[in-house]
């Protein structure tokens, strides 16, 4: 140690100080990353009909902090603005979400229970109604909220262009964003069709930082008929109520 020239120590120390002070308090926002998000959102809202097949993972945190990951699928067919059919399946539950512009039905095949409620006249209003009245998010609802007033870029406190990346053979640009409660990443297809190809959401409100991931396969010319969006209860299916998680909380807290 004594053999190290003092000048080197001084240089190293000054380098450390410079580095420490040049670190910004807030993560920087790259306007290009925000613009890419807005471009993607604008493009999504021009789509009149599409089918998205998503492979998802979702972490559950146990009381001791151990994380358990469940994998699943979501098959989403949208006929904007009045038709939506989503089939989700994972180890834990299977659901069919159906909306025909007038009614919304949620059917759990394994239990053969279904719930039907009156619905407003667009997919966007349906999503808002389910969220506000029942505390329920439609699966992969961001696909319907980017490019609308519900896309809140003011919540973003950090935005970074990570660089090019390939998702399932598709060349994408990878962006990373920070918000108060979540960090999230998105891979947007390069070229004339700026579609989201992958999303990772990291929840920061739990120390274990559970994640939700989704990889999307897009079909922009799906074939379907109107019956795809209407629920015809199978024989033996039992009608139950749609759970209102908002008021169940109040009742139990």
């Amino acid at each position: 140690m004594n053999k190290v020239p003092k000048i080197v120590v001084a240089l190293l120390a000054s380098l450390f100080v410079t580095t420490a002070f040049s670190q910004p308090d807030e993560p920087a926002i790259d306007p290009g990353a925000i613009a890419a998000l807005e471009k993607m959102g604008g493009y999504l809202r021009t789509l009149k009909a599409f089918r998205v097949q998503a492979i998802t993972t979702n972490d559950t945190v146990l009381e001791d902090g151990q994380k358990i990951q469940h994998e699943g699928t979501a098959d989403i067919l949208a006929n904007v603005p009045k038709g939506l059919r989503i089939h989700t399946d994972n180890d834990r539950h299977e659901r069919l979400f159906l909306y025909d512009g007038k009614a919304f039905t949620l059917w759990g095949q394994r239990m053969d229970y279904y719930a039907t409620v009156d619905a407003p006249d667009t997919i966007g209003k349906l999503a808002d109604m389910l969220e506000e009245k029942y505390g329920m998010d439609l699966p992969e609802i961001d696909l319907f909220r980017w490019g609308t007033a519900k896309m809140d870029t003011t919540a973003i406190i950090g935005a970074m262009d990570v660089g090019p990346a390939v998702i399932n053979g598709t060349t994408c640009q990878h962006y990373a964003f920070r918000q108060d409660d979540i960090d999230w990443q998105i891979w947007i297809q390069k070229g004339d069709y700026p579609l989201p190809r992958k999303v990772v959401i990291t929840t920061k409100t739990d120390d274990a930082r559970p994640q939700h991931t989704a990889e999307y396969q897009w079909d922009l010319a799906p074939s379907f008929n109107d019956a795809a969006f209407t629920f015809d209860p199978p024989k033996g299916a039992l009608r139950v109520v749609l759970e209102d998680t908002l008021s169940s909380d109040d009742a139990n807290e």
Binding site: R92, I201, P210
Partner: protein, 150 residues
């Protein structure tokens, strides 16, 4: 010899079935969830509200079901212990839960044994002895809320 073999086989089968039923009936190991990853960016309700009632639901049913389940399940090296997001069929879990008196408004994730489905005004209820449950479905779970007789 053949008879002994058959007896052994049927006992094994019984043990297997009990273990399976109990595994599906849950509680194994007592691993309760404390949170879940948020699954959307652009949504308004970000609190972990859904966990609150799940934990309360556990309190109502798990004291008994854990006791029943652990012996079989853990001996088999299973860890079916977490995450109240399954759909259980009332019949499949009958063996795992011993009923206790439950007040109206309580929410449970599984039903006691010997329930029957009753349809009233087009909606399904489960009548289990003197207690009535209304099944309710969400995007990720099926629960039962204790109600007055419809």
């Amino acid at each position: 010899m053949k008879r002994i073999f058959l007896a052994f086989l049927s006992v094994s089968l019984l043990v297997f079935i009990v273990a399976e039923v109990n595994a599906r009936g849950r509680g194994g190991g007592g691993h309760h969830e404390r949170s879940q990853a948020r699954s959307s960016i652009n949504s308004g309700h970000h609190s972990n509200h859904s966990n609150a009632y799940r934990n309360n639901g556990n309190r109502n049913v798990n004291i008994n079901s854990n006791r029943n389940v652990n012996v079989n399940v853990n001996n088999r090296g299973y860890h079916h212990g977490c995450c109240y997001h399954d759909d259980y069929h009332p019949l499949a879990i009958a063996a795992a839960v011993t009923a206790t008196a439950i007040v109206v408004g309580s929410i449970v994730h599984s039903l006691p044994p010997s329930c029957q489905t009753v349809i009233s005004n087009g909606f399904a209820y489960q009548q289990c002895g003197d207690t009535w449950y209304q099944p309710q479905i969400s995007g990720s779970s099926t629960t039962y809320i204790v109600v007055n007789a419809p």
